[in-house]
């Protein structure tokens, strides 16, 4: 890289306020209670619906689940992550189940059983997909199903509704303490930005993704103006 950025000056190699869910995949801040319940529910072979607005951390929570249930190479995967907006047509569950297995299962095209499936952007699923999920859940190929959607009222198929054991979780925005914790996890104890300033930036927009972007913009603005410590006046100027 020819030009160093503000975070290079501070000694970071990567952007500490990156909004990509994969970058800090094993550190999720907030939703502690919810995450514990979700994990418990997955162990109990339940069907779950996780909902939340844009940027509240839905995909990030999923990454956390994948990390928790990850396993070695030989035995194949325990968790399938599938983003429903990838495909134009219906979801091919057989293919997913075969690919999840290890070498021999792939060779003999045996579908793996007892899988946990995470369906991201589930609002894009059609009726047929829902019926398929129900079928595979009933036959034991799927141990647990996690639907992730931005709206609370996902259209489940009749069969899934009848089971009446769909647990709904809603992710909401963080509170002040969690906001500080999140930033501190990323930048450590460096004092170029104080806790009060973090809270002030957080209160501009409480959405996690917008908050991270705002932090980045404020820091960039501060360093571009030759200052090394973020002051309150910069928040307004940078976020106008």
């Amino acid at each position: 890289m020819k030009k160093l950025t503000w975070y290079h000056e501070l000694g970071f190699f990567n952007n500490p306020f990156s909004v990509k869910p994969t970058v800090f995949h094993n550190e999720i801040i907030g939703h502690h209670q919810t995450m514990a319940e979700i994990t418990k529910e997955i162990m109990n072979s339940g069907i779950l619906l996780v909902s939340g607005e844009y940027g509240t951390g839905k995909t990030t929570s999923l990454k956390r689940i994948i990390f928790k249930f990850r396993s070695g190479r030989l035995e194949g995967k325990k968790v399938i992550y599938y983003n429903c907006n990838q495909s134009e047509k219906s979801i091919d569950f057989d293919k997913l189940l075969i690919n999840a297995g290890g070498f021999f299962r792939k060779l003999f095209r045996i579908r793996k059983k007892n899988m946990i499936i995470l369906l991201d952007e589930a609002q894009d699923m059609n009726k047929k997909d829902m019926e398929q999920v129900e079928k595979y859940y009933d036959t034991g190929f799927l141990k647990s199903v996690v639907f992730v959607s931005k709206n609370k009222n996902l259209k489940f198929s009749e069969g899934l509704k009848e089971k009446n054991n769909i647990n709904k979780f809603e992710l909401s925005n963080m509170d002040n303490e969690e906001a500080i914790e999140m930033i501190r996890k990323r930048i450590g104890k460096l004092q170029f930005i104080s806790d009060e300033i973090i809270v002030k930036i957080f209160n501009v927009n409480k959405n996690s993704r917008a908050f991270l972007k705002n932090c980045e913009d404020v820091c960039k603005y501060t360093f571009d103006n030759g200052n090394r410590i973020v002051e309150e006046e910069y928040i307004k100027k940078a976020l106008k």
Binding site: M1, S18, Y54, N85, E121, R209, K213
Partner: protein, 286 residues
Amino acid sequence: MEEFEKLEFEKNLSNINSLETDTELIGREDEAKEILYRIISGNMLLIEGREGVGKTALLKYAIDNFKGKGKVIYVNVSKVSKRFNISDLLKKKSKEMILLVDNAQYLSKKNNERIKDYYDQDYIRSVIFTTTDYNLINFTDALKTRIGRSIIRLTNIDKDDALEIAKTRLDDEGMLPNDVLEQLYSDSNNLKEFLINCDLLCGYLENKNKKKATKQDIKKVPNLKLEENINREREICSECEEELMKVGDYWRCSKCDQYCTICGALYEDDDEECPECGIKIMEDEE
């Protein structure tokens, strides 16, 4: 022999193909800095600006700075078929690609979602979109929140900067004196057309064996893309009153007309091939 070859230049002086010229960016220093930062820090960025204002030139600048490692993908969405799938470009699945999307207003919703997905999984490090109008873009909300405030709105560059660009390319031959360039600039619609006009004027001078241009010459050159000519060329759809696009030799409305995207000829619902250029018609799946 081309006009610029007669003058012993290797390339056309006023080359307006933004992807081929390698002159430095003039008058866009802040924007250039911003682009580099957004790419390095792994953000999404949208460049908005009218036609010919220098959007693609900024992308070229990004390519120049990150090329050579097989990490940069440039795609002009207005030139790809309706079946275009962004995953085909990312097939090798190497991580941290830099994606440059020119004319993003033509991007389909599916490709929107795909970009978001690859970006989240870090196959794409950062994305730069360009568009003529932010409101035209059919970005999903998921993508909009990822772009956030990172939008550069380009306006026409200063007269002085435009003249400097023309002069650096002319190599100070003295063919087009300052007052002629100034007149030409104020008559032209945007930077791109200003450069085209410089080219046409040089060609005219060459034909007449003149060494130096005067203001009177501007009026004598045929086909100059001056503001008055351009305005006459804009046409509006009689049904929905949207602005028409020029496709091949025809003016077509993207909403009301059913036309071949390559030559612009109209076709019927049951046609399998374009009646004029014979290319196979691909129906949009949505």
